[in-house]
């Protein structure tokens, strides 16, 4: 009897998890189907939409890669993401180190203050920032995105790194300083190598958050060739009023999966930032 109960509980668990996994992943499964389906099959309301009623095709992928700006969107996204990573590292690493090391009263307060600016949403800032962009002649330029995206990466990453640096014992750098290194020397030669996993986390987040961003890109960029994937795919793969669902879904799928894989590895650290150390 106990065994039956155990099996039933096991079955219940798998059903529950299966249901949630289906809910989370179904839109992406639906992208896979559309990517490889013949238009004729895709657009027949009587065909079973879950099956390939005609042999799969690579036409949508060919169209996506050779007849749209999709490759350009990917390159733009890569360029913006890498530049944002560099700016974020250059500002957040020193700030987080200083806040973690000289944090008595004001350091903590300033750290929390910086984190709170993460709560000021792009939906309040995008109108004034669009004026900044046009004032500096950066409309339709990737530079506008490169300069604006650190507004959400710096606060979050500074906070995250602060936590990382606090876990590195002070003794280690004090020892290094006794051995003749300067404070900056101790920071760059001793502390940074120990904080490498924190820095890697920041690299991943700055990049993925930049790739996810939608509002600023939508507001600042309207020239097709300059778009990033997050706005290029939803706004450009439409001919007139007609959505080109095959290439559209292929584009969404190809751009989503790699970043999702990397992000999943770092998700726990991302959440550790949110919970503000409430969970040790």
């Amino acid at each position: 009897m106990a065994n039956i109960g155990k099996i039933a509980r096991r079955g219940g668990l798998y059903t529950l998890l299966g249901g949630f996994a289906l809910f989370g992943a179904f839109p992406f499964y639906w992208m896979v189907i559309a990517t490889f389906k013949e238009d004729h099959d895709l657009f027949s309301p009587l065909n079973n939409p879950f099956l390939f009623n005609e042999p799969p095709t690579l036409d949508h992928l060919r169209l996506l890669f050779f007849e749209t700006h999709f490759v350009g969107y990917l390159l733009n996204t890569l360029l913006v993401g890498l530049a944002v990573v560099v700016i974020t590292l250059a500002t957040a690493v020193p700030a987080a180190y200083a806040l973690a090391r000289w944090a008595r009263g004001w350091g903590e307060t300033l750290g929390i203050g910086i984190f709170l600016t993460y709560l000021v949403p792009p939906t309040i800032l995008f109108i004034p920032l669009s004026r900044f962009a046009s004032f500096f002649g950066l409309q339709e330029s990737l530079w506008s995105l490169i300069l604006v995206y650190p507004t959400f990466t710096i606060p979050f990453c500074t906070w995250l790194l602060m936590g990382f640096f606090k876990t590195i014992p002070k003794d280690i750098e004090e020892q290094a300083m006794i051995d003749g290194l300067s404070r900056l020397g101790a920071m760059t030669k001793v502390v940074l190598p120990l904080g490498i996993s924190g820095i890697l986390t920041v690299v991943v987040f700055s990049f993925t958050l930049s790739m996810h961003e939608f509002i600023y890109a939508l507001t600042f960029i309207s020239v097709s060739a300059k778009k990033t994937v997050s706005i290029g795919v939803p706004t450009e793969l439409v001919r007139g009023d007609v959505f080109q669902w095959g290439p559209l879904m292929a584009g969404a799928l190809i751009a989503s999966i790699p970043v999702a894989v990397v992000y999943t590895f770092f998700l726990d650290r991302f959440v550790a930032g949110f919970t503000m150390g409430a969970v040790k």
Partner: protein, 317 residues
């Protein structure tokens, strides 16, 4: 910057000097981040405040202050009022559902089972993949003719014939009928935030000391009582954090509504952020747009205060 020459930090005479210089060094290291935030968050925020009190448009962006006219005009506009109500309704409904579901899901994920990494990857996809791309997948699933949900309903005989439960038309028009469009937007918001809330709750649940629960078990506390007296109080701070961040992200989100409905049909799914965009950017009325967006601020300020108090209570500081 004068490079800190420090032959030996133990030299007594130098000590005050080094500390002074360390203070300067700290400020120097923090300065770029603070400057960036002041210039790119602080300054635009002030500009948004000024715009909201002016009559600036994209064509004539000069600042002439005209008082609170924009806020009055916004409040008098029925579309704005609808957007304001929708923003609250969508956020609270979706986040309540998210908190319940994420608790169930987190409990399930705590148990050991095979293939956990794959299940976790699939469940996290809505949060880890770019939201605009995930939402475009939903747009195709809600298609007015080719929606797979419609096909299933027709297949089951619930749609498409005169006697069907959902009526004789061949499609549901998920995004074309106000009630369904609202439900669809809420559903996608739930879908999107659920992974984040789940991971936060997971962290909370796994942080409860095992011996505490075992002690309660030994003392003869029933599972319900253990949940009520130990798990819930101990994880309340973390649940609140999950809820507050879910609220911030949903309350200020533009993507879901913009990609799915553009606020339609006839503004029934309009929210503050989408209405800000349509008025302020597409309509070119910077002043109105800024005023509309600032209606979000009080809620965000309250959330920030709660998060701060939570941080104090859990003594992270």
């Amino acid at each position: 910057m004068t490079s800190p020459s420090n032959p030996t930090p133990l030299a007594n005479a130098d000590r005050g000097g080094i500390l002074d210089r360390e203070g300067a060094l700290a400020k120097l290291l923090i300065a770029p981040a603070v400057f960036y935030i002041a210039a790119m968050i602080g300054a635009p925020f002030v500009l948004a405040l000024l715009y909201s009190l002016s009559d600036a448009t994209t064509g004539d962006p000069g600042l002439r202050l005209i008082g609170f006219q924009n806020f009055r005009a916004a409040l008098a506009d029925p579309v704005f009022r609808l957007a304001l109500r929708n923003t609250f309704v969508f956020t609270l409904l979706s986040q309540t559902i998210v908190i319940v579901l994420s608790r169930v899901l987190a409990n399930a994920l705590l148990k050991p089972f095979r293939g956990k990494w794959l299940v976790r990857f699939l469940i996290m996809l809505p949060w880890t993949a770019p939201i605009s791309l995930g939402t475009i997948g939903w747009l195709w699933m809600f298609d007015s003719i080719f929606s797979p949900a419609d096909w299933v309903l027709r297949y089951l005989g619930l749609l498409g014939t005169a006697s069907s439960l959902f009526g004789g038309q061949t499609n549901m028009y998920w995004l074309g009928i106000p009630g369904l469009a609202i439900s669809s937007v809420i559903l996608v918001n739930v879908w999107r935030i659920l992974p984040l809330a789940t991971v936060i709750q997971l962290a909370g649940l796994s942080s409860i000391p095992k011996d505490l629960i075992e002690a309660a078990e030994v003392d003869g506390a029933s599972p319900w009582r253990r949940t009520l007296m130990i798990t819930i109080p101990l994880t309340l701070p973390i649940v609140s954090i999950a809820f507050l961040f879910g609220v911030v992200f949903t309350f200020t989100d533009l993507v879901v509504v913009y990609v799915l409905t553009r606020g339609g049909p006839v503004h029934t799914t309009q929210v503050l952020s989408s209405w800000t965009f349509f008025k302020g950017i597409e309509g070119g009325d910077l002043a109105q747009g800024a005023a509309i967006s600032l209606f979000m601020f009080p809620v965000l300020a309250v959330v920030a205060i709660f998060i701060l108090r939570m941080a104090r209570r859990t003594e992270v500081v």
